[in-house]
């Protein structure tokens, strides 16, 4: 066997080591992985269990928590270092790499050397890709192997070189794709994990101390009056009035959620938020939120309420008051207070509204666009 080092924590052999309880050795090994210290090689079972310890500890705080993200980062880092270590042991560099080596190392990952996939990219493409990526294309991966990574948007199909059912990859890309597929399996595992062991709490605390990449610094601002000049392009387009195809979505779903959250709870509204949790006087809804929405509905072509008067009820429903004509604070929470849809969803539902400007870069939700611009202005 070429390799006895564990490179896939979800291989059949590794999964057999997960018995719902962990040895002390597994906890010690998890701590070692977290600290990044070198140490003596762990036994296979201890090693495999330590990955599950990290994941179960991360899951204690929730799959999207910083602890869970840290668990994945640590696992990816350990595996990457092992893969590169094994390649280096064999004296691998760009010039002498045997393309068969990596596919042999990575279990359950259908990676092929390009030559075996029967694909010959045009030489011009190979030159362009090499100039961009700094290394040659070596591997072919059936595109469906990437589905887990596509699901989590860690990988974008449009940024890959795809031909005849295969994604063609450099050595670095192949390893990165492998690690992303492992990360996705970590998420799946954490969603289902339910191990009760008091020792996991200590690991969770350690995970919370691991620095993980954040897309933006946290901002602290309270709810304030709306500033239209900070609205993103999709909201400005909606306020200007929308044509018949996208009217309902633009007004009832997008604008209603955006204006209400931007005015009432621009930061950290949390799950299951209700307007009543943030305001004591409904005039903020009736005098500041609804007039903006109604005016935009009037500017639609044809005006939204002219042929669909019931949409007013629907707007109240989306604000969380249920299907009602009269708004009462005590009814807040009768229906969900719909959160602002993400940019990707808006592009899908109403593509004509999405004309990104330079501030849209790195923004995935219109509300983030608004809060960032407002925050920077006030800074």
């Amino acid at each position: 066997m070429l390799n006895t080092t564990l490179l896939n924590p979800f291989s059949r052999r590794a999964l057999r080591c997960f018995k719902g309880k962990f040895s002390d050795g597994a906890f010690a090994e998890a701590r070692r992985k977290l600290s990044g210290r070198q140490g003596s090689e762990p036994g296979f079972e201890e090693d495999a269990q330590s990955f599950f310890v990290l994941l179960c500890a991360g899951a204690l705080r929730g799959v999207s928590s910083p602890a869970a993200r840290a668990a994945k980062e640590v696992i990816k880092k350990v595996l990457a270092s092992r893969i590169w270590g094994l390649l280096e042991q064999r004296g691998v560099d760009e010039r002498n790499l045997d393309p068969e080596l990596l596919p042999m190392l990575l279990e359950d990952f259908t990676l092929l050397p390009i030559s075996r996939a029967g694909i010959e990219p045009p030489p011009e493409d190979l030159r362009l890709l090499r100039a961009k990526q700094g290394e040659p294309l070596l591997y072919a991966l059936p595109w469906k192997e990437l589905l887990p990574a596509l699901r989590s948007r860690r990988v974008s199909l449009a940024r890959l070189y795809i031909s005849r059912g295969y994604v063609l990859l450099t050595l670095k890309q192949a390893i990165a794709c492998y690690l992303e597929s492992i990360a996705e399996r970590c998420d799946e595992f954490m969603r289902l994990a339910s191990v009760e062991d008091p020792r996991l709490e200590d690991i969770a605390v350690l995970l919370e101390e691991v620095p993980v990449s954040r897309t933006s610094r946290p901002v602290k601002l309270g709810a304030k009056r709306l500033k239209e000049e900070c609205f993103p392009p999709c909201i400005r387009a909606t306020l200007a009035g929308v044509g018949s195809g996208s009217r309902n979505y633009a007004i009832t779903v997008l604008l209603t959620s955006f204006i209400s959250y931007a005015r009432i709870a621009p930061f950290n509204a949390g799950e299951n938020a209700r307007i009543a949790d943030f305001v004591r006087d409904l005039r903020v809804v009736t005098e500041e939120v609804l007039p903006v929405i109604y005016a935009a509905a009037e500017r639609c072509s044809p005006p939204l309420f002219e042929d669909q008067p019931l949409e007013k009820l629907n707007i109240n429903y989306h604000l969380g008051f249920g299907l009602t004509e009269e708004l009462r604070l005590e009814d807040s929470g009768r229906s969900p207070w719909y959160f602002v849809p993400n940019c990707e969803k808006i592009r899908r539902e109403a593509p004509s509204l999405c004309s990104p400007d330079r501030h849209c870069r790195d923004v995935r939700n219109p509300l983030v666009y608004y809060t960032r611009r407002r925050y920077r202005r006030e800074e």
Binding site: P121, L128, S152, A158, S352, S355
Partner: protein, 318 residues
Amino acid sequence: MFSEATPAERRRYYREEWGLSQVPDFILDTLSEREFGFDHTGDGPNDRYNLITTPAQLEGVLISAAPYAAYSSVSFYSRPERRKGWRGAELVFDVDAKDLPLRRCSCVPGEVCEVCLDDARGYIMEVAEVLREDFALKELHFVYSGRGYHLRVLDEAVLEMQSQERAQVLDYVAGGVIPEAELLELRRGYPRVFRQRILRLLSLLNREVMRGSGIAPKRAAALLRPKTLRRVANELEEGSFATLREVLGVGGFACFLELVRRLNAEMLDAKVTVDVKRILRLPSSLHSKVSMKCVYVKDIERFDPFKHAVPRFVRERD
């Protein structure tokens, strides 16, 4: 044609013209795994959660009810009558001729003519080509929906895909993402798809479309000169953007790519692709609003809706 079918015409269609042989095998073979929906009044498919287990039962329902519209799910369930036990779903692309963002004809949004329908057919063929060449998908089925085309993919690789993956495939085939600048000129892969989408749009561009895109009017006018457009098209075929960059300038070129991306994103109805529990018009059923048949298309290159999708009662109306 394009005027609503009367209840009597619907009944006549299902009794005299409709036949089980017009329902494609990919649906007949999976009847009991699909949810069926019906619209009896023209207000939308309100009669849902129906289980149909045999072709004879389907025949009985359609002939006796002569619905305004009939639908079946793209998804497969263990209990379709409750929409429970989701087992997978076809990957579907829907181009609706009435919603094309750019047209060769003078139809306004919401209207359809022979030219729009032909553009929709050409476009769905381009989508299929990308699915075949880049994704190596083979089980592609075309359906004329009455006012556009559905492309239904049944390869095993796609059935279990969730909405997020479907959205990524959609972006790829539609050209809904601007390629990386350094790789725009790749011969294969996504940049080629994006260039093909530009080529299709070039002949449809006009000043009005380009207004508001951020491209300076003078540069837009320069691009729209027939000679320039021809040169740009020839270069794009070869993978080059030289003239386009030169004519539009750096800023204008970026705005142009963004305009293309936005128009591309409007070509396909994204909601249909990402919805893994969607119901779609049943091939062979009647699209009563426009009095056309929803037809399973065996030869998309030769398909002509005005020959193959017009019910007899429409031909005999006058």
